[in-house]
């Protein structure tokens, strides 16, 4: 199990790296930078870079609430015991209304909104807000498709606001431009338009947000209007989050509102088609102390568990002898299951405080029959003086078929979106890859005897083969036959041989290994045209064998099915 996500996080574009300024973080937490840098990884973060005045930190994709310095400070204050328990956010109605056009139902139906007053923005905090927005676009918004976020200078426009399905030729001045453009033009001429055109271009109408005077605030999920640009002079913000998934949209609203509230702003609700939002209220779960205790392997009392949850900024109180009522902050989008809460208990307990120990589980080792057969094949080939290669399983048809003078196998798997011309198909044979290895080692001393054992795939079915090549001036049919013979004998294959028609070999110097009337392998002298196709200059004696011919090779397992308890 890996690392699917760790791997993704390494990918250059989609990493959520948050820049944390020490000065600001120290002000928000009241703790020195040394402690913050030291303890931060223990709540779930990778410190990427430590600089003079800031650190670049990578947080996990399930914790978008940590994508702002305010969110990090909130969590650190709890973790360090400075301020524990549920953060409570007051929300007052703004009296502002927002309507949603039913025509958006099949385009981009969900809208979340809020008013954020008395923000105190400088260049740095605007950049931090934009950073949070971009990180949320990636982690929650799935590249803006699921959720896109817009922040506006509320005082530049006049409520009520309307989220409408607009004709595509409506025009306005988009951010960073000075002239009016139609929405269709924006998709072609504006850099953001080009990046995100695929999200809307097939719809007959486009999503648009306008104010009481029909002035454009935003063309979600593409670009805001220049009209409501947020600057250091902005005092009050209107937030819009549009998307296709209501839960994700509200997650984004809650995370942005609570982050700005932590920075000192006050939050007001907006009436969206009659629904006051956001409430910033926690959700509730009743969890078992015993279940948590046995999952983590540590003895926990309700009191201890309550204390640990408080450090992770949950509201928690014992509900009865065995259960705890947990209030989950509105910004915690990752709590799907009771165990998600138990993980936070483990983090608060401190991973370094767990006594790692082996359980008393008695089991017996079993080698898989396929690897056992592979191991036997390796033993024979190394005994014959061959050196093992472990070639790639991805290759191309030129190596696999054209160079070998063989017709392509119908069961060859082709990648739908290969990344290079070198790797377009999954190998169906090992021999061509060994020929490639001989070419790569052309400058090395002869003789060279190479073999490979491993997976090949045909018609989605994975099985194993062994192949071997021997290159030197005296390599010939007899050498190949002798090697094939001893390999079969040592693997207990009761084979017979007949002349082969494999075009990769020289006519009259090639044999098929036959078992129960089926060809399971081939050996002989490689055809000179094949040698030249691989740019080789000496004769090659070669063999290949399907390991399914070995007695005891297991039948392919059927697919299991999800079953009942």
């Amino acid at each position: 199990m890996d690392p699917g996500d760790a791997h993704l996080r390494r990918g250059a574009v989609r990493v959520a790296i948050i820049t944390l300024s020490y000065r600001y973080l120290e002000r928000l937490t009241g703790v020195d930078r040394g402690t913050i840098i030291e303890r931060l990884p223990m709540i779930g973060a990778d410190i990427e870079r430590v600089e003079e005045d800031h650190a670049d930190v990578e947080f996990f994709p399930d914790r978008p609430d940590l994508y702002s310095p305010e969110g990090v400070a909130r969590a650190m204050r709890g973790f360090l015991g400075i301020e524990v328990g549920l953060p409570v956010y007051d929300v007052h109605p703004s009296g502002i209304t927002f309507s949603v056009d039913p025509g958006l139902a099949d385009i981009r139906p969900c809208l979340g909104s809020a008013v954020i007053r008395n923000v105190n923005l400088d260049e740095e905090s605007i950049e931090s807000l934009m950073g949070l927005q971009e990180a949320l676009h990636w982690a929650v918004g799935r590249g803006r498709g699921k959720v896109a976020i817009g922040v506006h200078d509320l005082d530049a426009v006049r409520p009520p606001f309307h989220y409408i399905a607009s004709p595509r030729d409506r025009s306005f001045v988009p951010l960073d431009f000075e002239r009016e453009m139609t929405m269709e033009e924006i998709l072609v001429d504006h850099p953001k338009g080009r990046d995100y055109a695929h999200l809307v271009e097939n719809f007959p109408r486009f999503p648009l947000i306008v104010d009481a005077d029909d002035r454009v605030l935003s063309f979600p999920p593409i670009i805001n209007g220049e009209l409501t640009r947020v600057t250091t002079a902005t005092k009050n913000i209107l937030l819009d989050c549009t998307g296709t998934d209501r839960k994700a949209v509200m997650t984004a609203v809650n995370i942005i509102c609570t982050a700005l509230a932590e920075a000192g702003a006050s939050i007001e609700s907006v009436s969206v088609d009659g629904e006051e939002m956001p409430t910033l209220a926690p959700s509730e779960r009743l969890v078992s102390v015993e279940e948590c205790s046995s999952l983590l392997g540590i003895p926990l009392t309700p009191g201890e568990m309550t204390r640990l949850l408080g450090r992770m900024r949950f509201g928690a109180e014992p509900a009865d002898d065995s259960r705890i009522r947990v209030e989950i902050p509105c910004y915690r989008a990752d709590i799907l299951h009771d165990w998600d809460i138990f993980e936070d208990v483990a983090i608060a307990y401190g991973f370094e405080n767990f006594d790692a120990t082996l359980p008393a589980v008695s089991t017996i080792a079993v080698e898989h029959p396929v690897t056992r057969i592979e191991r036997a094949a390796r033993a024979v080939m190394t005994g014959l003086g061959y050196i093992e290669m472990i070639p790639f399983t991805l290759t191309n048809e030129r190596v696999l078929y054209t160079n070998m003078q063989r017709p392509p196998l119908p069961g060859t798997l082709r990648l739908l979106h290969p990344i290079s011309e070198e790797q377009t198909v999954v190998r169906t044979d090992l021999l061509p890859l060994l020929m490639e290895a001989l070419l790569a080692n052309k400058h090395r001393d002869l003789p060279q005897r190479l073999f490979a054992v491993g997976d090949v795939v045909e018609d989605c079915l994975t099985y194993q083969k062994v192949a071997a090549v021997s290159i030197h001036p005296a390599a010939d049919f007899s050498e190949a036959y002798a090697a094939a013979d001893v390999l079969c004998r040592e693997l207990s294959i009761g084979y017979s041989v007949r002349e082969s028609a494999d075009p990769a070999f020289i006519d009259g110097r090639r044999g098929d290994i036959v078992l129960d009337g089926k060809v399971v392998g081939v050996f002989g002298e490689i055809h000179p045209a094949v040698l030249r196709a691989f740019d080789l200059e000496h004769p090659v004696a070669a063999l290949a064998l399907d390991l399914r011919a070995v007695p005891g090779y297991p039948a392919p397992p059927g697919t299991p099915s999800p079953g009942g308890r």
């Binding site: 199990m1 890996d2 690392p3 699917g4 996500d5 760790a6 993704l8 399930d62 799935r142 969890v287 999952l295 983590l296 392997g297 799907l336 299951h337 138990f342 993980e343 991973f351 370094e352 790692a356 120990t357 359980p359 589980v361 008695s362 089991t363 017996i364 080792a365 079993v366 898989h368 396929v370 690897t371 190394t382 005994g383 003086g385 050196i387 093992e388 290669m389 472990i390 991805l394 798997l413 990648l415 739908l416 979106h417 290969p418 290079s420 999954v426 290895a437 790569a440 080692n441 090395r444 060279q448 005897r449 795939v457 989605c460 994975t462 697919t559 299991p560 099915s561 999800p562 079953g563």
Partner: protein
């Protein structure tokens, strides 16, 4: 050091002469002069003989010159072919006329008047003719003779460097001869007869020089990376794990959905995963997985919400991890305890560079039992890494979509510090419940090519899969302490 048989023979041949050239000695020893020089050089290293090299120039007839040997130079032959005078027309019929007339005129032997050639005298032989005649008698002439260079210029004679060696006994050589030499033939290879007959007891067996390096040979061997994989397998067998193996091609259902990876997870986009055109039907009972995604089934989970697409789950991929095999293994081994591992190739749609490959090996281990817990997971990690030679391990919170809690182990590597090595966690109930797995499943995995880089000292991962034969030949099978 003992004399070789050949050196002894040389000394014996030289004994009556004291000093001789290599050619003479070669005749006496019935061998080639080059061989004599080789033996003499060996003996001279021991101070038994002195070897002097002589380089002499000598002159031999060329192919053209050879044709005139015994008959005289062309102008002489032509001169002798007529009396006092001859009409030019007649003289030109002579086969050597073309070369001869010019030379006769140049040497002043003739004058030509009104188409008639007249002798000027009786033309005494010049030095070139004298030396050419001597060449005819002896086959070669030494340098310095008058007339030689003219003949070289005319292409009748060629110059050749002749190297010869004079070999002389030194006093030490004489002393050795006086003391007597054992001249019996040395034996190289013992024969069956010599062993059986007991003849070996009195045979002078040739001695070998141990300071001379042997011919370098290489054994057949498994790949260094395979040896590392086998080492890991042995560690896991030692710990009582059963081995799993399975197909490279998996449906999205098994690769993602069964592991509760949401259908809009970035890993499921075409830029990260190799998708195939093939589709697999969903297994019976897939609805349990669907329900888990949509609303959490009958667990305490909310699920991911939204609609789960059966069509998306059918699309085949090259497995992005072997965790799909783990869940399939557990689905048919529901009775505790289960301890299993798998080492297999996994695929990521990545451009290839020294540290990123589109395919690489991953190790994965699972433990399922009634009472296993997070502390045990850390215990297994610690034990496994220690057995792989990483004694210092520490744990940080991690995130993987299919485990909760999740942990990122780090190991301490001399010179590198703390290195993240793999991931681990307890399978979410959303993963296990649809398959009727009722007990906690500890799971961990690591990309073992990473370990290979650390252990084999590789800078470029590609060398594992496109290997230099020389690297494999020179990498010892047993690498020392580990």
């Amino acid at each position: 050091m003992e004399l070789t048989q050949n050196e002894k023979k040389l000394l014996v041949a030289l004994a009556p002469l004291g000093s001789a050239d290599a050619t003479t000695l070669a005749e006496r020893m019935k061998t080639r002069p080059e061989a004599v020089v080789q033996y003499a050089n060996l003996a001279s290293e021991r101070g038994l003989v002195e070897v002097e090299k002589h380089v002499a120039l000598r002159y031999l007839p060329t192919e053209e010159g050879q044709a005139y040997i015994g008959k005289g130079l062309p102008e002489r032959q032509l001169f002798e072919s007529f009396g006092d005078a001859i009409p030019m027309r007649d003289l030109q019929k002579h086969p050597l006329a073309k070369i001869g007339i010019g030379w006769m005129r140049r040497k002043g032997w003739i004058t030509i008047r009104d188409g008639v050639v007249h002798r000027t005298g009786n033309a005494p032989p010049g030095p070139d003719e004298v030396v050419f005649a001597r060449l005819g008698e002896t086959g070669e002439v030494p340098a310095g003779e008058e007339g030689l260079l003219d003949l070289v210029k005319r292409g009748l004679i060629r110059e050749e460097e002749a190297v010869n060696y004079t070999i002389s006994l030194t006093p030490a050589g004489r002393d050795l001869l006086a003391a007597g030499l054992d001249l019996r033939e040395e034996v190289g290879t013992l024969t069956r007869e010599q062993i059986l007959s007991g003849a070996w007891e009195s045979l002078p067996l040739r001695r070998y020089d141990v300071t001379k390096l042997p011919r370098r040979v290489y054994p057949g061997k498994t790949h260094p990376y395979q040896r590392l994989i086998d080492e890991m397998r042995r560690v896991l067998f030692d710990m009582g794990f059963a081995e799993m193996s399975g197909g490279i091609v998996q449906s999205s259902f098994w690769n993602f959905d069964a592991l509760f990876q949401p259908q809009d997870h970035p890993a499921r986009e075409m830029q990260d995963t190799f998708f195939l055109a093939e589709r697999w039907p969903l297994p019976e009972g897939y609805e349990r997985v669907r329900d888990m995604h949509e609303h959490g089934g009958d667990t305490s989970s909310t699920g991911w919400g939204g609609r789960w697409s059966a069509e998306k789950a059918q699309q085949c991929v090259l497995r992005t991890h072997t965790t799909g095999l783990s869940i399939q293994h557990l689905a048919v081994h529901r009775e505790p305890p289960v301890k299993a591992f798998c080492i297999g190739r996994v695929y990521r749609r990545e451009a290839i560079d020294p540290t990123h490959l589109a395919e690489f090996e991953q190790l994965e281990g699972i433990v399922m039992d009634e009472t296993v817990n997070f502390r045990h997971l850390l215990g297994f990690l610690k034990e496994f890494y220690a057995k792989m030679g990483f004694d210092k391990v520490r744990f940080r919170p991690g995130y993987f979509p299919y485990t909760e809690p999740s942990v990122e182990p780090e190991v301490y590597v001399e010179g590198l510090g703390w290195v993240e090595l793999g991931g681990a966690g307890i399978f979410r109930e959303e993963v296990t419940a649809p398959f009727g797995i009722e007990h906690p499943v500890l799971a961990w995995g690591l990309g073992i090519s990473r370990v290979a880089m650390l252990r084999l000292g590789l800078r470029d991962l590609r060398h594992l899969y496109r290997s230099d034969v020389e690297w494999i030949r020179e990498t010892p099978i047993y690498g020392g302490g580990r």
